[in-house]
């Protein structure tokens, strides 16, 4: 109940935040423990606390101390042969603290809660690199690199929780003897990999490039039989403009490189022990216990990505214009996903990690850069890029869909596409919501008795033939949750010491299930958004034709809260003015007199403007295709100084 956005969109606008007559000073009802009803006849719905009290009195923070270190030794054994050994360390310690005040909010049910968390993460990475570099006969350039790498990551954490606080004074750290009920938790896990890799780069006179590589990787997360994988790769490049036949066009096309590459890469982020059958802790009341916690899969093997890319880079008019194109296709094979197992088998998590699928990502990338103006002290440069990206689930085990509340993973569709019921509007005769089933029949959801009936346009009030919305048959795929195109446009103007730059970003082609908007037409005794003003009220006041009639506490049926419906599915296209920067670099000689090497003052704005048809706060606020009570981005305006010493 401490959710800030959940509360913010529901709090009653006609009650005050503070109440001097309450011992806490805030407007709070005690029985039940919700935000005060003030002059309303009933308590607020959804068990909401006075969220300002919660924000003012509860604490939830963490501090991270991160240490990054690098150590290396390098030696040239021969003029063309060098050896380097390097050790990298990445350690972070996280110190977290949580306090729920006992008087009101989430802490009330347990008479206050204090919690200290500590987490330690350490990763070391050791590499031995041998490099051989030689130019033969002045035109054959060879570079051979051999790498032996090992990496180890360990995480351990513990937490101490105390509830039933003796007094709210003890709210800065867990203090011995001040809590009635204590519990501790903790865990530890590790992950590692070893890799042997070799790469050969060859180019002939900087004109023809050939590269080949081979990796032999072993990871701790796979069973013994399948631990190691062999991953080859290669690329070809051709600087066409270095060819004699191109010399004629060099003043127009000053540089042209065509390139293509192919690489196989293994996915190492698959969890720590996904293949083992395990028993984890399972306490019954206060008695220690263990229970089956993960089903094993000794057939688990490497998930590989096979990436192919072809493209070219071109420079025109001595570098005044630049243009690049890439086509890429990435086939993910043996995709490791949690394959669903029927719940009635009682397997932990109802899933088993398996190599079950194939995923394909492909796209086209275009980018260009132009010096539009270059005259003396004034220059203006623009660069722009656009990517068209597509994603498709090629195959799943047993061709089985994997459904979630709002999305689906289905063969032939983009992964986690938005999936829901087709909503077509409001029955103007009675205010019932109308849906279209998979077979085309239109049905109405009769609000008074929560039943579906076939809708007859000629007799809209007739409720004779019952029907249903089948979650197995009547849902459809509305579109991808991943954008199908995106890119940016950047413009930089420099005049004498002044610089002015603008960056735009755009994206689109994806759909978002706007669940926050659905919450804003919630039918409990809570606040609503303006959309509710368009509800159906009577035959003479049918409203906007999209929002059905009101029915107290009827959200589950009227708004179909357990599913996505096209009533709230929107396109996620947008164009944003991402950054706007003004800067002035002081003249070098002036600055040097002050003992500095450079000084620039600037003002920058981020997330200034947005153009979108999306009705929520920000179409990028979605997670997995769903916008639900996300905290909005902030517009940031920065003033600063860059100092070079």
């Amino acid at each position: 109940m401490s959710g800030n956005i959940f509360s913010a969109i529901r709090q009653h606008p006609n009650v005050p935040v503070y109440d001097p007559s309450d011992p806490t000073g805030y407007n709070i009802d005690t029985n039940p423990d919700y935000v005060g009803r003030w002059n309303n006849l009933q308590s607020i719905g959804d068990n909401l606390p006075n969220i300002i009290y919660v924000i003012d009195h509860n604490v939830f923070n963490s501090r991270i101390l991160r240490t990054l270190g690098n150590l290396y030794a390098q030696i040239k054994l021969l003029p063309s042969l060098s050896f380097k050994t390097q050790l990298g360390i990445d350690g972070s310690k996280t110190d977290g603290f949580l306090y729920y005040n006992a008087a009101h909010g989430d802490g009330k049910s347990v008479n206050g809660r204090v919690q200290n968390n500590f987490s330690n993460n350490l990763r070391w990475n050791l590499q031995n690199i041998v490099t051989f570099s030689k130019a033969i006969a002045g035109s054959h350039n060879i570079l051979v690199t051999l790498v032996q790498e090992s990496q180890f990551t360990k995480n351990n954490n513990f937490s101490a929780v105390g509830t039933d606080l003796s007094n709210e004074f003890f709210n800065k750290n867990i203090i011995s003897g001040t809590v009635g009920t204590m519990s501790v938790g903790g865990g530890m896990s590790e992950n590692g990999f070893i890799s042997y890799a070799g790469r050969l780069n060859y180019n002939f006179k900087g004109k023809y490039y050939v590269q080949g590589s081979l990796r032999y990787d072993g990871i701790s997360a796979l069973p013994d039989a399948n631990k190691w994988g062999l991953f080859p790769g290669g690329s070809l490049g051709w600087t066409v403009t270095k060819e004699p036949f191109m010399s004629g066009v060099l003043d127009i096309l000053s540089d042209l490189k065509i390139r293509t590459s192919y690489a196989q890469v293994g996915n190492t982020s698959i969890g720590n022990y996904p293949y083992l059958g395990l028993y984890g802790s399972a306490k019954y009341s206060d008695y220690n216990g263990i229970a089956f916690s993960q089903i094993g899969n000794d057939q688990l093997q490497w998930e590989t990505s096979k990436k192919f890319d072809v493209g070219f880079d071109a420079l025109f008019f001595d570098g005044k214009y630049k243009f690049s194109f890439d086509y890429y296709i990435n086939n993910q094979d043996g995709l490791i996903l949690a394959a669903p197992i029927p719940n009635s088998l009682g397997v932990p998590g109802n899933s088993i990690d398996k190599n079950i699928g194939q995923l394909k990502n492909w796209g086209y990338e275009f980018s260009g850069e132009a010096y539009i103006l270059r005259k003396g002290d004034l220059s203006w440069q623009v660069d722009a890029n656009i990517t068209f990206a597509r994603n498709e689930v090629v195959s799943l085990v047993n061709h089985q869909d994997i459904t979630a509340v709002n999305t689906i993973i289905r063969e032939g569709e983009s992964i986690s596409s938005i999936y829901g019921y087709e909503y077509i509007g409001v029955n103007a005769a009675n205010g019932n919501p109308l849906y279209q089933k998979a077979d085309g029949t239109v049905i109405q959801g009769n609000i008074p008795n929560s039943t579906y009936y076939v809708y007859d346009e000629a007799n809209p009030t007739t409720l004779t033939t019952t029907s249903s919305l089948s979650s197995t048959l009547d849902k459809k795929v509305f579109g991808p949750s991943l954008p199908t195109f995106f890119g940016g446009i950047n413009s930089r103007v420099n005049y004498k010491g002044f610089d002015f730059s603008v960056m735009f970003r755009y994206s689109g082609g994806n759909y978002v299930m706007n669940s926050t908007r659905r919450d804003l037409v919630n039918m409990n005794f809570v606040n609503n958004g303006k959309e509710i003003l368009g509800r159906w009220q009577s035959v003479d006041e049918p409203g906007d034709g999209w929002t059905p009639r009101l029915w107290f506490a009827g959200s589950t049926f009227v708004n179909l809260t357990g599913h996505a419906t096209s009533r709230f599915i929107e396109k996620g296209d947008f164009l944003k003015l991402q950054t706007l920067t003004f800067g002035y670099t002081l003249p070098a000689d002036l600055v040097r007199k002050a003992g500095l090497s450079s000084l620039r003052i600037f003002a920058q704005g981020q997330d200034i403007l947005m153009l979108t048809k999306y009705t929520g706060i920000d179409p990028e606020m979605e997670s997995g295709g769903v916008d639900l009570n996300g905290t909005p981005r902030q517009k940031v305006i920065t003033f600063g100084i860059n100092l070079g010493l």
């Binding site: 031995n128 509830t163 701790s220 083992l276 019954y284 206060d286 229970a291 009682g346 998590g349 919305l469």
Partner: protein, 542 residues
């Protein structure tokens, strides 16, 4: 100079070689990729010592106490959900907010969380019982534990397997009497431990057993459990006798199962074990004040089997009975039963308090004029036991069985009346004048009505109403005719609770006829998506 150069180069080479060797040794150490977890035990070692075997048995109880709900642990099935779902499917409570709304208003579908997790967590528990059954026998075969100890553990596993399948039948399958030989669809009765891919493939191929088969297996498991389990005395005085399975618990559950099966003779056989002269005579007695059973939930003389909850391990703020029913008052007692004239106004089960925090012996909690239950009292630490079965139910089952075996039109059966009064009299303010006598009933049919009503009063907000609605569809005298009509979802006006007259107000949730597909919960979508066998056997209409 030349000499020095040579020396310097050679020196550097000499220096680098040990460093090179050192780093090569460290980094090629294959221990880096040969890692085993710290937080979990490999499945091959899980039953390798007596202490680990015991831990697995406790882990099985954990699945009964707290099942998974979208990544959090709540009270499915036996920690609290059996009470909350059993109450909200019936008309003796009113659901006030959205929490149990879909269950209460019969607007669930194959994706509704309540139904999905009930199904899922029941089978999660069942798989653990099968793992324990297999594991303890392996351990006994290997001499790690004695056969006697293994049998006791098996008894506990069999009890849970039986009652959990039975409760699934009550929600997902039609009652026993739906067809003459109970040959209609039940649920898959699972007796295999699913821990590897081969077992999974077999399990997916298994379809729904018939209701007759399920009952037969439930009773077989309970019979076997009764044989294996220790008695309540063996378990020890106080808490262990209530929160761990016992012979008496197995017998008590059998009275419930036989009642649903309309097998009155066996109800009497099983229940008689608890009476004077029976094997379990004297094991249980009814405290003089009905509130004692709940105030001293782990040390009273009436509870037969309850699930234990502790301050640090309980279904949590979103599921624990004291949290949902008292602190957050999400469900209140319905005026329908509250104002029923059969429940006398001075009955001890109406003892009311307005105390919000300190546990008291009262049975009712009054907040702003509305009536809630005070059976679950620890609103800070949620340590109340979850009452699966208690002696009052055995007695009322017995009373009903005698009543139904007697001639309907004859004078009230003496036994039936006696056992009804045993339960009712202790709750009456003045039993001397208020107790039922044979003269109060024209015949056994009238007595049956009183017994059935008494069940509703005695077990209000203990999750027993839906199982009774389910089995009474085919009662020849008081058929329940589908899901009864209920008050609208929402907070009833305080005036609705004024005693004196029966409730005749609006019933916003319309009744659902028995033939309606919504009488049964649908098999969850997540199940039918992954299981083609069960997808073809979905409850009709879903």
């Amino acid at each position: 100079m030349k000499k020095m150069k040579k020396y310097t180069i050679q020196g550097r080479k000499l220096f680098i070689i040990p460093v090179l060797i050192f780093t090569l040794i460290i980094s090629s150490c294959e221990d880096v990729i040969d890692l085993k977890p710290y937080s979990s035990i490999d499945e091959n070692s899980a039953f390798s010592t007596a202490s680990l075997v015991q831990l697995s048995v406790m882990g099985m109880y954990q699945a009964a106490q707290r099942g998974d709900y979208n990544g959090n642990l709540r009270g499915y099935p036996w920690g609290s959900a059996f009470v909350q779902q059993g109450d909200n499917r019936g008309e003796d409570v009113v659901n006030i907010f959205t929490f149990y709304q879909l269950t209460y208003t019969n607007t669930y579908d194959p994706t509704t969380a309540n139904n999905v997790w009930w199904w899922s967590d029941s089978y999660r528990l069942i798989n653990r019982t099968n793992i324990v059954l297999k594991g303890v026998q392996t351990a006994a075969d290997n001499g790690i534990i004695t056969q006697a100890v293994a049998d006791q553990y098996k008894g506990e596993a069999l009890l849970f397997r039986a009652i959990t399948h039975f409760e699934l039948l009550i929600h997902f399958a039609r009652p026993y009497k739906h067809t003459a030989d109970a040959s209609h669809q039940g649920v898959p009765y699972r007796e295999t431990a699913y821990t590897n891919q081969t077992a999974l493939d077999e399990g997916i191929a298994q379809g729904r057993n018939t209701v007759a088969e399920c009952y037969q297996k439930v009773l077989a498991d309970l019979d076997q459990a009764e044989q294996y389990l220790p008695t309540r005395t063996d378990r020890g005085a106080g808490k262990p006798g209530i929160v761990r399975a016992t012979k008496q618990a197995a017998a008590a559950f059998k009275t419930r199962v036989y009642l649903h099966k309309y097998d009155w003779a066996n109800v009497i056989t099983e229940a008689s074990k608890f009476l004077a002269g029976g094997v379990y005579a004297g094991s249980y007695s009814l405290p003089a004040d009905p509130g004692t059973t709940f105030l001293n939930c782990y040390t009273n003389s009436e509870s037969i089997f309850s699930i234990e909850n502790s301050g640090t391990n309980n279904p949590g703020v979103n599921a624990a009975l004291a949290s949902q029913y008292k602190r957050r008052i999400l469900v209140c007692i319905s005026p329908i039963i509250w104002r029923d004239p059969a429940w006398l106004t001075d009955d001890k089960r109406r003892s009311t308090t307005t105390e919000t925090t300190t546990p008291t012996i009262h049975m009712i909690y009054n907040s702003a004029g509305r009536i809630y239950t005070n059976k679950y009292k620890d609103v800070t630490n949620y340590t109340d036991g979850s009452p699966l079965i208690r002696y009052a139910e055995v007695l009322l089952n017995l009373s009903e069985a005698y009543c139904r075996t007697a001639t309907p039109a004859a004078a009230p059966d003496a036994n039936a009346l006696a056992y009804l009064n045993m339960v009712r009299d202790r709750s009456l303010a003045t039993p001397a004048s208020q107790a039922y006598t044979a003269a109060d009933f024209a015949d056994n049919v009238a007595l049956l009505g009183a017994i059935l009503k008494e069940r509703r009063i005695e077990f209000v907000m203990e999750g027993r109403r839906w199982p009774d609605i389910h089995r009474l569809q085919f009662c020849p005298y008081y058929p329940t005719n589908g899901i009864p009509a209920k008050l609208s979802n929402g907070l009833p006006a305080a005036s609705n609770f004024t005693l004196g007259t029966p409730y005749t107000g609006a019933l916003g949730v319309t009744a659902i006829p028995y033939s309606d597909y919504r009488f049964l919960w649908p098999i969850p979508r997540v199940e039918t998506d992954a299981n083609p066998t069960l997808a073809a056997q979905q409850n009709p209409g879903w």
